[in-house]
């Protein structure tokens, strides 16, 4: 039998089995972290692959793409570009997200010239029984995914909305594209005609002649393109599309890592208990000649083994979770970035291995600390029962803790790295690590401030905790981490919700809102419809808005331009300004920009900016920065009169209607139906309904977060229980002596419950302070850098109080459960526990 096997039998075999409940809990925590992380990464990677594949199938063999704003650009550009000597083939495209009749969803319709597209994007040219269907108006070819999702086959008719009218499209065939994207393809001229895009193109796909250098051709063609029209490689477009969801994906990954970290703390607590319980065999094998180093690594290997098992189970659970999530929420996990894409989960061995390694490393680290502490204890002391070595631990504030906290504070001032709040996450991790390192000092100082109670069990509990701050720190680590994260998320979510509510109240001042279409960008209100709505008897005031897309930074996704009828006298009444207002001059009209735009472009009130509108650069003055929780990629607001004057576009996308005194939504709806025959295609909503919908989505989004954090709290309590039980194991003699001296079992129970509750109170206090600090980082750094959303700090006191009371009660119960062995044991046996 090898020495390793002998050591394993002497110190490990049976030990893990004896506390299988705690080991399983620790494995569960690690497994949960691995499962969440793997699921999120798997879904993200699969969705990103699917989006890339979908975009590639749309762009085919194009080397370059010319793209314009949402309403397109002048098609006169096409012949100029097509004649360029470096261009082998140019395929003009019109793209419209057309609302499907009787559905609140849109279908992306791609208008192509089949002859041109065959040379660049052949996958967009469908199989048709009659080739002329490619040219006929009213014909559409669906991708397999679209045909399946809409449950239509060739020969069926699909009705889509254009303006307020229905456009019937006969399904002429199915595209050969294998992409999972839902699209429909029709003739470009027919699409322009059907969707009021006459003379406009959305993009031109270009295939270069052999030998032409894309970057050089792009640079040359860009110089001749009108403002707001850009040229780039398809890959750049894919990158900018995926970039939209990147911060969201990274945030989900961070949440998964939090679960993994908490699992590591639980392994730490469990291994501390396991080591405490095995003092005798561990000391014996050391006394018999096993080196300190060998024993330390043996204990670390135990933890790694737990991590390995947990990680493997976590991988399987993660795959299942990913499959369920994709089915339930889609490839973007409900965030709305990749609509119409249902990814096939593709197992990437590298990702799987990475998460297994992560689980093993976290568990091994959780084991290393108690293994090191034990290995450092003098052997003679370890051979004796008792715990003298743990009492002499230093309670000075470690310099490393101060350094970590200082570094964490400093990191909050660092900018985003490639648009990701990595410094914010680093700051949170540093503050957490610094606090955990300072826990003995914090526990000592806090406990010293508590007056000694008259009750003997309580006084003994306090005396015990004061004397063993290092042990208290072990018990507290998981609970402090869990409470801090819970509190920080609770404060952040409460602040966000409160700010969102206030924002909704401010941006929804009207009585009823009318949208031209529930989805897509094919619906609009013509000037005639606008006039009819404005002159309805029940309408006191109406403010129309035209939504457009504008590219302000090349390579970045377009931002939303809202051309609005702003309230006279106070144009910012419907905006929540966080900076400004700044007066604009006549030659540079006012432009209000959202925080996302201000952050990305570096604009501030008073900045004069050039915005590409109607193919020309128009000068504006940034009049203010407003809060906008609706559009993460950014938004711009300008006076609709100015927009109309500059573009000639007098269409509107939505209307905010203030009803006349005596009128109500019901009356208005009847008047609208009478005045506008196509009113059935309009979407009407009251501010209350919009507010309720927004808050419902908000709450649903964060429900998962709360569920995860509740799990973190359970893990934290389990950590407390493990560490507390570890402490109790080493105190059998103490309880025996107290029983000899006349303390009843009930008094000892009260003492232990007091210890657990006091300890948790210290943990709660520390966790609340740390959580408050982390909340500030989440609000002012992570959210700002991830989503560019500012919010007002709101502390949910009732929720936090309920959390504190619940945790204290749970801690008392946990302590009592952990103390049961101490209460059961015989006092005689306990005091004989010497070698």
């Amino acid at each position: 039998m090898s020495a390793r096997v002998l050591v394993w039998r002497a110190v490990s075999a049976g030990a893990l089995a004896r506390q299988h409940g705690r080991v399983l809990l620790a494995m569960g925590a690690i497994g949960l972290g691995v499962a969440l992380g793997y699921a999120v990464t798997l879904v993200n990677a699969s969705a990103a692959n699917e989006v890339s594949a979908a975009l590639r199938s749309l762009t085919g063999s194009a080397d370059l793409q010319i793209r314009g704003p949402r309403n397109g650009f002048d098609e006169a550009i096409y012949p100029q570009v097509a004649r360029d000597p470096d261009i082998a083939a140019a395929s003009p495209v019109v793209e419209v997200d057309a609302r499907l009749e009787a559905r609140d969803e849109a279908l992306r319709i791609v208008g192509i010239d089949a002859f041109r597209a065959a040379g660049v994007t052949p996958a967009l040219v469908g199989d048709a029984s009659d080739p002329l269907d490619h040219l006929r108006p009213g014909r559409i070819f669906l991708s397999p995914a679209a045909a399946q999702a809409l449950a239509v086959a060739p020969g069926a008719t699909l009705d889509v909305q254009s303006g307020l009218a229905a456009v019937p499209l006969l399904v002429a065939g199915v595209l050969p594209a294998a992409s999972a994207q839902r699209i429909g393809v029709m003739d470009i001229a027919a699409a322009q005609d059907a969707f009021a895009r006459t003379g406009r193109l959305s993009r031109i796909d270009l295939r270069l002649r052999p030998g032409a250098v894309p970057a050089m051709v792009a640079a040359r063609l860009a110089a001749a393109l009108p403002a707001g029209v850009t040229i780039a490689t398809p890959a750049a477009y894919v990158d900018s599309t995926l970039r939209l969801s990147r911060a969201y994906r990274v945030n989900l990954d961070a949440l998964a890592l939090v679960a993994l970290f908490t699992g590591g703390l639980l392994v730490y607590a469990t291994q501390t208990l396991a080591v405490a319980r095995r003092r005798a065999p561990l000391a014996l094998v050391r006394a018999l000649g096993l080196s300190r180093r060998a024993l330390r690594w043996h204990l670390v290997a135990e933890g790694a083994l737990v991590g390995l098992g947990a990680a493997v189970v976590g991988l399987a659970a993660g795959y299942g979770l990913a499959a369920l999530s994709v089915r339930a929420f889609g490839g973007d996990l409900g965030a709305g970035y990749f609509r119409g894409v249902t990814p096939m989960l593709a197992i990437d061995v590298r990702i799987a291995v990475a998460f297994v390694v992560l689980g093993v490393v976290v568990a091994a680290l959780g084991s290393y600390l108690p293994a090191r502490a034990w290995a450092q204890a003098p052997l003679a002391s370890a051979l004796k029962a008792g715990e003298r070595s743990t009492l002499a631990a230093s309670t000075r504030l470690p310099r490393a803790a101060l350094a970590l906290v200082a570094a964490g504070v400093a990191a909050t001032a660092l900018p985003a790295v490639d648009d990701l709040p990595l410094a914010g996450y680093l700051a949170m991790a540093l503050l957490l690590a610094g606090t955990l390192l300072a826990l003995p000092w914090i526990a000592a100082r806090t406990l010293a401030a508590i007056p000694v109670p008259r009750d003997v069990p309580l006084a003994l509990a306090l005396a015990r905790l004061r004397a063993t701050p290092a042990q208290a720190a072990v018990s507290l680590a998981a609970i402090v981490a869990a409470v801090a994260l819970m509190v920080s998320m609770a404060i952040m979510v409460a602040s966000f919700r409160h700010s969102l509510t206030a924002w909704l109240d401010a941006v929804l001042p009207a009585d009823v809102y009318v949208r031209a279409a529930a989805a897509g960008d094919s619906g609009y209100l013509s000037a005639d419809v606008q006039r009819r709505i404005a002159t309805l008897p029940g309408v006191a005031n109406v403010a129309f808005t035209r939504l457009q897309g504008v590219t302000i930074t090349a390579g970045m996704p377009p931002v939303t331009l809202l051309a609005r009828d702003l309230p006279a006298g106070d144009p910012t009444r419907a905006l929540v300004l966080v900076a400004g207002p700044h007066a604009a001059t006549g030659d540079a009209p006012a432009l209000w920009v959202s925080e996302a735009v201000a952050d990305a472009a570096g604009w501030h009130p008073g900045t004069r900016v050039d915005l590409p509108l109607a193919g020309r650069l128009q000068r504006f003055t940034v009049a203010g920065i407003f809060r906008d929780y609706a559009r993460q990629q950014g938004a711009l607001v300008l006076e609709r009169d100015v927009y109309r004057r500059l573009t000639g576009d007098d269409l509107a996308t939505e209307a905010a209607i203030t009803l006349a005194p005596g009128s109500d939504v019901g009356t208005f709806t009847q008047e609208l139906a009478a005045a506008v025959p196509e009113a059935a295609r309009l979407t009407l909503a009251t501010p209350a309904a919009l507010r309720a919908l927004s808050l419902r989505i908000f709450d649903r989004t964060f429900a998962v977060t709360y569920a995860l954090l509740a799990v973190a709290i359970v893990i934290g309590l389990a950590g407390l229980s493990s560490a507390f039980a570890a402490s109790i194991v080493t105190r059998r003699r103490e309880f025996g002596v107290l029983r000899h001296l006349g303390m009843t079992r009930r008094q000892i129970a009260r003492m232990l419950v007091a210890e657990g509750t006091l300890l948790t109170a210290v943990g709660l206090a520390t966790g609340f302070v740390l959580g408050g600090a982390l909340a500030l980082i989440l609000i002012h750094v992570v959210n700002r850098q991830s989503f560019h959303w500012s919010m007002d700090l709101t502390v949910p006191y009732p929720l936090l109080a309920a959390l504190a009371v619940t945790l204290l009660a749970a801690a008392a119960a946990t302590s009592l459960m952990s103390a049961r062995p101490a209460l059961r044991q015989e006092a005689i046996v306990a005091v004989k526990d010497d070698w």
Partner: protein, 227 residues
């Protein structure tokens, strides 16, 4: 003060191990009695039964006029709190309390605190020669000092009975002599009755009476001293 009448105690096993077989013993108030004997003859079991920590299978045990065999666990705990002081071989001084706090513990459990308790603790510490070590923590004390702390704790609440189980087993001979002398003097000064379990003939010689336990029970031939 202590009266054991035909006390029998055996432990489960195959076959059950009989430790005490119909042992009877009477110890007068103020008497200092040493119980000696080979290992496994039931010395510590006898002490545990007198302390109310263990119950005999049969027979009766009366200490300070209280019949222990009829008491439940809580009542026996109160009995120990009121009437018994302990000195252990391994000292068992609580590591997280100061010397003075350790000594004050029995008083605190009796609900006695404040100046009066403080004075009693100070006096007791002075009596055992630790008058200046009240604020020290146990890990700052030597073995002899720890056992003196334990003696102070055993006597501070003026118990009727002091039970000492091998109190010098962890001490060197010089310290052992000093601690034993201190224990005897203090017990006498407080008027307590003391049962001392020991392997040491030297320690037993300091007692008023020596009771020898054998596997057959108390050996009347080698048991010496009055009455």
């Amino acid at each position: 003060m202590i009266h054991l009448d035909r006390v029998t105690r055996s432990y489960p096993g195959h076959p059950p191990r009989a430790v005490l077989a119909e042992v009877s013993l009477t110890v007068a108030a103020g008497e200092f009695v040493a119980i000696v004997g080979e290992s496994g003859t039931g010395k510590s079991t006898l002490l545990n039964i007198v302390a109310g920590l263990d119950r005999p299978d049969s027979g009766s045990v009366s200490v300070a006029g209280i019949e222990l065999t009829s008491l439940d666990d809580d009542a026996r705990t109160r009995f120990r709190r009121d009437h018994v002081g302990f000195v252990f071989q391994a000292f068992h001084v609580l590591a997280h309390l100061t010397v003075a706090q350790n000594v004050a513990l029995p008083l605190a459990l009796l609900g006695r605190a404040g100046a009066e308790a403080g004075a009693l603790v100070a006096a007791m510490l002075a009596a055992v020669g630790l008058g200046d070590r009240g604020a020290s923590l146990p890990h700052e004390l030597s073995g002899g000092e720890l056992q003196r702390t334990a003696i102070a704790r055993a006597l501070v609440h003026r118990p009727a009975v002091v039970l000492a189980d091998e109190p010098t087993g962890n001490l060197d001979p010089n310290n052992a002599d000093r601690v034993l002398a201190l224990l005897r003097d203090c017990v006498r000064a407080e008027g307590a009755t003391c049962l001392l379990v020991t392997h040491s003939r030297h320690a037993a010689a300091l007692a008023d009476r020596r009771v020898v336990l054998t596997s057959a029970g108390i050996d009347p031939l080698v048991t010496a001293g009055a009455p």
